[in-house]
Symmetry: C2
């Protein structure tokens, strides 16, 4: 059976994001997948990249360099436990689903902190092993999120621009950088401004998509997909 990690960032289980997460757990479990969930707010996940992420002595305690110190700590098994736990889940997973409400054209800080802290050098990439030769090859990622604004404003002529513009840092800059192939995003536009009926249809559409997810081809994660 395939393994899926859902990294989930919403404060409220009753929210649409909470329901989308539950639908994914149910549908994927029904398929025989083993599903892990990192419920970041419930875990009170630490988003700040600090010296606390390294257990024991630093390589250079005179001038703290987070990237260098976490790389070294990773190699000697000296990262903090919460990071080791998350890395174990990532390592096992065939698919990473990120479920969140869009905050400021990006993911909420608590999820950005997951990226900043979990995907350390040595584990997820190690120069020159990045992009197509990143260390998390043979995995897939899917960004599933809700927006405040309508679909119309997130178009080329719309005031917020094509929704793909804001996917570049997340999909290309993070996932592709680590060698992960990216499936098309799943976007629920403006759920707060539609009827209860339409929100239910959003959940059904997500469950439907998940039924044939493993047959999907990754997107071509290059500037053409985002900007042309």
């Amino acid at each position: 059976g395939r393994k899926v990690l859902i990294v989930y960032a919403h404060q409220e289980p009753k929210s649409l994001n909470g329901s989308l997460k539950r639908v994914a757990v149910e549908e994927l479990s029904k398929q025989g997948c083993s599903v892990m969930v990192s419920d970041l707010y419930a875990m009170q996940f630490e988003p700040r990249a600090t010296r606390n992420d390294i257990v024991g002595c630093l390589q250079n305690s005179e001038e703290f360099n987070y990237g260098v110190e976490t790389w070294e700590a990773y190699k000697r098994g000296g990262l903090s436990n919460d990071l080791i736990e998350e890395q174990k889940k990532v390592k096992e997973a065939d698919l990473l689903i990120f479920q969140f409400p869009l905050y400021w054209f990006s993911m909420p800080a608590i999820m950005k902190g997951w990226m900043d802290r979990v995907l350390v050098q040595g584990f997820a990439h190690e120069f020159p092993n990045c992009y197509d030769s990143g260390l998390l090859q043979n995995k897939l990622a899917l960004f599933s999120f809700t927006t405040g604004g309508s679909k119309e404003i997130y178009t080329k002529g719309g005031i917020s621009g094509d929704i793909r513009y804001l996917l570049w840092p997340m999909q290309h800059g993070i996932m592709h950088f680590c060698g992960v192939r990216v499936l098309a995003p799943h976007i629920c536009f403006a759920p707060e401004y539609v009827s209860e009926e339409e929100r239910k249809e959003m959940l059904i559409a997500w469950a439907q998509r998940l039924k044939t997810l493993w047959k999907e081809e990754p997107i071509n994660c290059s500037p053409e997909w985002y900007f042309e």
Copy 2:
């Protein structure tokens, strides 16, 4: 005298980011500006958007909605003290400088949390007052950051794409959305891979730019600037 708020996110005062911050404080003070600094790691700034940001009762404690609750709390003066403090600084400032190392094509989570939590509806925007009619008009913002990768990889033909692509969510999606006009970014590429001499030149160049900063015109913060 003009007022400047530097929102600064680096763990190490001896880093280049720390030096860039100090240079800005010195140069702007010398000009007669009053300079405020939010040193996010030193403040142990909270990046997580949670119920703790609202003092007292919630509008709807059955189903927590962060955007709605912080908007209401703002209107009745019921946001947590750390947010009120930051909003005071933003309100006073003519110019916001964001100083940080680029983490994953974006700002570190601790700074993303500052955006998520400080720029609440009612304070920074209030539909339909967004973009050119956002509530923080007559302010300027400048993103000043360091990168791990070289200038060459952040070009249209380079593997990481034009550096402007990743500025879209930060400059347009956040600052422009709040009505803030954006000055050209200040980017120090790959300081870890250049000589001590070249790092000193980077500090001098920043001080030089700041001398004539108030004469600069904001960029045209529209898709053309970013993607053409």
